[in-house]
Symmetry: C2
Subunit: 470 residues, 2 copies
């Protein structure tokens, strides 16, 4: 027989590390920063702590860097630390429907694994959950054959912070200035997180006091997001059958009422009635024919759209404020659209435009900032649903130039933010958004909202210019 | 503490099924066919059996189809069948460096999982390894929470084949004609597998005798490919350290000689000498400093390029024959380049051009067939290294029109085949090739090889046409 055997998740992703964003040394540095900062912001937001994140990059040799990310978040309990950092597909964000930057349980373990594979160094962690508890320090190396942590060192230490987490990774990397630079990336993070304070020490700094600070432009935390149940409109037959087998609910009616969002007892009864399945049938006793009937009945039953308190938009006022601070412009507008649904998941689109002013050139292609759940997307723009929607929008009617099927040309910065309980990415590196038609349609509507206001501004400006000539 | 917990591979990919190629019902049908046929061709090629694969698609209802794929391959031993079909990341092709269509241990379990999630139906398998052994029939459903098979049924049956495997999946799907159709896809498979016989029954057939047969255009099997060791030029420090810890070799010299390809005992001694590490040092006793020295010494040591009997090109003659059978043209040329290396993995590029003739229009964009390890790539052309290389090649100098940064315009069919012991894809759906610079460079050289011959033909044709006018 052929030698068929199991492949561990970590072996698979060690070989396929470009799927996680570690294609080359320059990108590896950016991906590492991203995974660390995303985790710190998620943790602080969820614990309702105003996020303060310190990012330091030290250059150790020509192609080796040490990245340290320290936050004032709630910390991680000691018994979970090895698994969090030394096991792929382990985390707190996958099994729930709630907006967060992370969603896979892969990010930080992948960064640690890349560091281990390229330098042999284990990931170093300090974490503390409360002032009256000790700070725990760990050195953890992932065993790639087994996808399991090996704790190299563990002790309790004195730490000047009452709570928080500090992560240090040594990796083969490359530090660039300019377009795809860490400096730009951190600036883009602050744009979408106006409530957070980011303090950044670059590798080429003059001394350790030489620090770039992105202070929060607001003291208000983002709205707290609720965790929701799946909406029945998205569920597939096989998934429904599995849920019926596993539910603790004792009747079909109670099953629909408790396992899904927006299904009242009455609506649950309607579904059962339409399917001609007794409302008090035991879920585990539902056979295939009945499951198929229930599955058919769901889309034919009137069920309220999913709740939207599970998404925290940045908001028009803060978008304009943040965008202006980075790109001072003569005209600025932002729009936050109301939430809609794809595959049963609520999502919403926010767009903002900064136009004109001394800094932006009229002959350059517009700058497009893409965001998903407040995280800047820097790579794979050619594969991204946002780029597709921008190119598919007719910008000529708002007074801009636009080569066919391309980004428009003009003194413009475009910012597009997709916020969802779960974002469909084109790969595990979370760099580009998959082309769901509902999402592309909604982005275009958001761009048109802002475009119309831009068009009015451009026309008004031209009228004024013409009048001056006369 | 936050509810951090483990996520199973199958849970992850059930949610992210667009990463595996199951984005929508039409694509799901194509991906399912692909995964099944790839496995059948791999199995027959490896067992040196002239592949015969029967593919049948039945439409069961408006959006439900049954796909059956039956081969004359070596079969699968009964104790491995549940894991092969009911567990993601389980297979025989990941842990070796040898050219094959599959490489992840995911494909067929993913297709079965998609069928289960959308219809509740288990995957059905019949397999037999020899005439004197019984045929075993199974019904297997993957437990997505645990990534483990649940065998619903298993028995021995009479079967009219002496050996082979038959797989049946029922799934929610959609059947289309035209560009992205199953019919076109199977035709493209035969183009790159001229030794195989494919018999295809479409869902809209008149009756069960209504069959499309792509007979092999050659009786010769593809050259047998050897399995190779990794080449030292690709290895990273952390990986080297791990290999030193795990090797059975008793000395550093023996370690390099046995664990890598192309490292003779002498060359292994050279590496150790350059690193100032005793050649007889026990590998497990090599410390970090010594490992770093060895790692540095590798690229400074002259080591022969990797062996190339691990790749089976289609070959220029068969490429021309197959391409002509599908696109009769007035001019045809093909080139198979010599193998080169990326990340320590051997790969080679083959290109073919069919030009002119009654069927191809001079005003249309050239048709581009992309292949990786003999598998047609149908989607994500915008993300693919092949598309990038085609657009980056200057076709005007061969007499074609070419909009800037675009595929050329002209009566032309382009076929590009990348063959490697391991192909870097942009996602697990294996639809597009990642942009490794070495691969893009080599594709362009292959296109230029064919382009030059095409250019000579176009010029000659124009000279003749001009002469006729005089
Ligand atoms: N700085 C931190 N503070 C508190 N908890 C953290 C921190 N970093 C990680 N965690 C916890 O560890 C888990 C695993 O993190 P990891 O980055 O691997 O996955 P994730 O963030 O859940 O998803 P993704 O792979 O999309 O990043 C998180 O879900 C979170 O519970
Ligand atoms: N028709 C078949 N005949 C013989 N062996 C098969 C057949 N189909 C699958 N197998 C075996 O089952 C294993 C798992 O198949 P699967 O498609 O899941 O993964 P793979 O082909 O190894 O990689 P990939 O995920 O890239 O397709 C294969 O490696 C092969 O050993
Ligand atoms: Mg994370
Ligand atoms: Mg396969």
């Amino acid at each position: 027989s052929k030698k068929q055997r199991e492949i561990s998740v970590s072996e698979f992703f060690a070989k396929n590390r470009h799927l996680l964003g570690f294609d080359n040394p320059a990108k590896a540095l950016l991906t590492t920063i991203k995974e660390l900062v995303d985790n710190s912001l998620d943790a602080a937001d969820e614990a309702r702590i105003p996020a303060e994140v310190d990012i330091t990059i030290d250059q150790i040799s020509e192609d080796r860097f040490r990245v340290t990310c320290t936050d004032n978040g709630p910390g991680i309990v000691p018994k979970n630390v090895p698994l969090v950092f030394g096991k792929l597909l382990y985390g707190s964000k996958f099994h729930r429907l709630k907006m967060s930057r992370g969603q896979q349980g892969i990010g930080v373990s992948a960064a640690g694994m890349y560091g281990l594979l390229t330098t042999g160094h284990a990931i170093r962690v300090i974490s503390r959950t409360a002032k009256n508890k000790p700070a725990n320090r760990f050195e953890i190396a992932i065993d790639t054959q087994k996808n399991h942590p090996a704790v190299k060192k563990q002790d309790e230490i004195e730490w000047d912070r009452p709570h928080g987490t500090s992560v240090e990774i040594e990796l083969e990397a490359s530090y660039r200035k300019g377009h795809h630079s860490v400096d730009n990336y951190i600036r883009q993070i602050s744009l979408a997180n106006p409530h957070a304070t980011l303090r950044y020490r670059a590798p080429d700094r003059a001394n350790d006091m030489d620090l770039t600070v992105y202070a929060g432009v607001t003291n208000e935390l983002p709205p707290e997001t609720a965790e929701i149940q799946p909406h029945p409109y998205g569920v597939e037959l096989g998934v429904l059958m599995q849920m019926l087998r596993e539910t603790k609910a004792r009747t079909v009616q109670n099953f629909f009422h408790t396992e899904f969002s927006r299904v009242s007892n009455k609506v649950a009864g309607d579904i059962a009635k339409l399917a001609r399945v007794p409302a008090n049938r035991k879920p585990a006793k539902v056979d295939r024919k009945e499951a198929e009937a229930l599955h058919k009945a769901i889309p034919q039953t009137k069920i309220m759209a999913p709740p939207t308190d599970c998404i925290a938009p940045i908001g028009e006022e803060l978008l304009e404020k943040a965008l202006t601070s980075i790109h001072p412009a003569e005209f600025i507008t932002a729009t936050t659209r109301r939430p809609v649904v794809y595959r049963g998941n609520p999502f919403l689109v926010e767009t903002a435009i900064a136009y004109g002013g001394a800094e932006l050139s009229a002959d350059d292609a517009a700058i497009v900032y893409r965001y998903a759940n407040r995280v800047p997307l820097q790579y794979q723009h050619g594969a991204c649903a946002i780029s597709k929607a921008v190119a598919a929008t007719d910008w000529k009617k708002y007074g801009l130039q636009q080569p066919k099927g391309s980004v428009p040309v003009g003194p413009m910065v475009l910012m597009v933010h997709i916020a969802s309980v779960w974002v469909p990415f084109t790969s595990e590196s979370k760099e580009a958004i998959a082309h769901y038609p509902e999402i592309i349609k909604e982005i275009k509507l958001g761009l048109q909202d802002c475009g119309r206001k831009l068009g009015a501004h451009v026309r008004r400006k031209r009228r004024d210019a013409d009048e001056e000539k006369k």
